[in-house]
Assembly symmetry: D2
Homo-oligomer: 299 residues x 4
């Protein structure tokens, strides 16, 4: 590698292609992502880990607005913090602060990011206001689309997905502040969301996806839900990128190798695939910056 002042993100990644270890994996991730975004693929994106509190929100919402995500699968927490960011900002904090003092001050900590109790109060007010009225049965994705349309901030992931009718799947929606608010709302009003209807909706998309690619940020439910939906179709993912800090050896799905997914039929035996081990708050921006640069040069 020969690094000079002013080098752009893509030049940096291109030089990593001839390196070993993580650098090479990142370079391969960009190659695959370039293929995914320039070719004719149904593009899945899964989001786990506290990516929105960490500042990755606009990367995701811009990808949605630019037509670079066709299906988003997310944890509930990322959507909660997306809503909070629409009216407030997460603050930078100290990962070694006294957590009992923070509690007394009404501050909740997400590693080195702080959220104030007042933000959760406004979150509650907003949510109680924008929950759908009438109580007609909805799927989870319909609920999220409805919530997105009630958010003013156009940088919001939920709002962007709603504007572009990109479906957001959140199989564990009850496992989030949105879930708690939904339960509260149901104490006095009607809200009818079936626990399983989303399954079919995503399976249908997988059936129709002749060629498909997936970017997985972290593991968890989003990774598994996207992969399992492909499992019950004759298709499988053709391109797959995983940015994660989890490893295969402890056996959990979050850290499972992409090769393991081939044994299940979730990813195709000839798929191009790569896992980049490391912090996605570094690797995702670098991957996106490099890929967008390449796409713009092609244009």
């Amino acid at each position: 590698m020969e690094i000079e002042a002013g080098i752009d993100a893509d030049e940096l990644v291109r030089m990593m292609e001839a390196c070993g270890f993580g650098a090479r994996r990142l370079a391969e991730a960009v190659n695959i992502y370039e293929e995914m975004l320039s070719g004719d693929y149904t593009k899945f994106f899964t989001l786990a880990g506290a990516m929105v509190p960490a500042g990755m929100r606009n990367i995701v919402s811009n990808l949605i607005r630019d037509g670079r995500i066709d299906v988003l699968v997310s944890t509930g927490a990322n959507l909660v913090h997306d809503i909070i960011e629409s009216f407030s900002h997460h603050a930078l904090g100290d990962p070694e602060a006294s957590d009992s003092e923070l509690r007394e001050e009404g501050v909740s900590r997400i590693y080195d990011v702080y959220v104030g109790d007042d933000d959760f109060v406004r979150f509650e007010e907003l949510l109680q206001e924008i929950f759908p009225e009438g109580g007609d049965p909805m799927t989870g994705t319909e609920l999220l689309r409805h919530l997105g349309s009630g958010i003013e901030d156009e940088k919001s992931i939920l709002r962007s997905a709603s504007d572009l009718t990109v479906p957001i799947f959140c199989p564990a929606l009850s496992d989030s502040m949105i879930g708690l608010q939904a339960w509260l709302y149901k104490q006095t009003k009607k809200l009818t969301i079936d626990a399983f209807d989303d399954v079919g909706e995503l399976v249908d998309i997988c059936y129709d996806a002749e060629r498909s690619g997936i970017v997985m940020i972290g593991g968890g439910v989003p990774k598994n839900f996207a992969l399992q939906s492909m499992l019950v179709t004759p298709n499988s993912f053709d391109l797959a990128i995983q940015l994660t800090t989890d490893r295969p050896e402890p056996g959990g799905l979050s850290g499972a190798s992409l090769s393991e997914a081939v044994s299940w039929g979730k990813i195709g035996p000839k798929a191009r695939k790569v896992t980049v081990y490391g912090d996605a708050t570094i690797n995702l921006p670098l991957m996106v910056a490099s890929t967008l640069t390449r796409l713009s040069r092609r244009a």
Copy 2:
């Protein structure tokens, strides 16, 4: 440490108490677990990672049958594999096998554990048979209790919980083969599970839990769902043990320190708490063996 032939698991752990690093953390976990199981605590247990495929099933079901778990929060996958274990056995495999060859042979791999396609076929048949008829609205925990009562194997986690009326919460049930089967079932029959009703059920338990303790195996949705339910009550966990391979620095909830949970009010400021970093397939058996030995000596 002075290790002699024939040393029992508890003697080993007791010597770890005077050691540093992981050994000391494990010894502290046993001290806390002994307090939890011998005192008057509402006992939560969360289960993430492929613990059932790895062979931890009977540890969990025995804890349930012996009254040592009051509330179980699980991933869907662990319940799926619990059902499969009720009629078949996971096989030991090779983590470096060719995954495309495994696919051709109809074998799905979970790191070094294999499951055959025929097991999934039997799983499907069993599930379609034991899904509740009639279509009356149920919560997720009610559905799981019903499924548990349809399983013959008394070593089953689902069956044990059903027998002892221990509620199992699985907020991401749709994100599992049970979810896929439920969606299939719903193509021709009626099944009405609300996405949010479980939330209130767990919150109620948390409200009533004057003193409570929690053991968390892995992170994920189970960890978050148990902690967030406590969040909306005036209570907080008094005892907390976390066995995990995840670390705090990447910021995700799975690896978040138990101290961080204090800032949210999920765990009490004076709670006894410890995280043991490492593979739970080693640390869970050792912790349980040592604790049971102590309890039996007290008796």
Copy 3:
């Protein structure tokens, strides 16, 4: 797994043999270690990480005294703390203490273990006293044998190795407090240790080792030095166990797979080998306890 009160360490490990993930690896490590200790092997043991401060000292010195280690390769720090333990004790501390306050109090921290400045003063006095007089050229292993003979505590690793004429190799001896003291000593007296003579000494042992086994605690210089010495002989290790927290993906030797060592010819293509990922302060005592139990049953 069926865990009952009073279960001994070996029963626990035996049940792990039918499990997946880390449990299975640990069970395999015990199988290999049983073979190593009961068969006719030259037995190497490498020691990195702060194992002595963490309390693993007597495990190692007992293995030496019982003839279960033929060659020890260690970091300098473990030998330094072995000497300190011969007249004092490491204290249990708080991993989250204020490090600048600790400095003011004259306390040095090793994660959750404390060492006082006064211990280092006594260490200095002792070392300046027991350094060999005369200045005749010595190899590093000869120096360490000499130092060991000057230590009163029979539980000392250095003393035990000296008593049993087990060679201790410490290729980075200058990178430790022993190195600093040696340099100090040399300001006024003569001490002649060649930087490379140890290389030949270990290569000779490797040449003569028709069958050999190695236990590696952590990676670092000890792992590499033992493996590289085998490299230049026609032999290779027949049995290999690695207990580590490092992973292969970042490419460093510490986390390198044992399979990688086969490509170099350090470990034989048909060797039995296993890596157990996790904290060695838990996994080493468990492995040793289980193995010694088996050996005692054989006897």
Copy 4:
């Protein structure tokens, strides 16, 4: 973060400053490195992990040639591969190749990088040729300076350090192929390198360093040797950056927090310091690219 096509590495890092987790740590690392390279500091750089085989060689040698490293502390392996790169190239390989087949083909694997046996033959020939004649006593750094002057390739780390009289410390030189070759050379010729003389040389530099900064790539002997040398002086490091995949919890020095080093007096209580967890083959190029860009804008 708002990422646009063509964004340069420094713009990317600047946006990370307002993010959480790893991104924020990397941004802070660049802030500290900018201060270190633009201010009046004695600049230490420690190099562990297989950074040269992974392609990081020119980054290090350019930093040396540009006067941005005053003292280099390295593992032996990185110097060995620096020499090999001076006449050949490491090849990109497959981390999942059959290691016994690689051995038959005479290929040694370093994760996903290959080195051929013929390269080691040429390495041997070159080294036997450039070892110093005469056998006069030398320190390790003098030996390395001599070797560097015998290397033709100006991109070599050893050659660059030799040209600029930047001392390279390698306390575990015997633990490398250079050590094996030195031992071989000594079978027939004279080579006199004292094991401890380097200690004083580095301590002297530390004594003279009124203000100092350190960049640590990986942990191991290089990290410890640089830190311990400061320990015996009245000084301590004022700036410290650590890029590593190791974590504090297992207690080893490699993963020890920089705060822990404050308790020892190695790093000052008011020092600016940050650890970036992740693969240094990604984080080092990004940190250097961003810092150089800033320095060039200042100029």
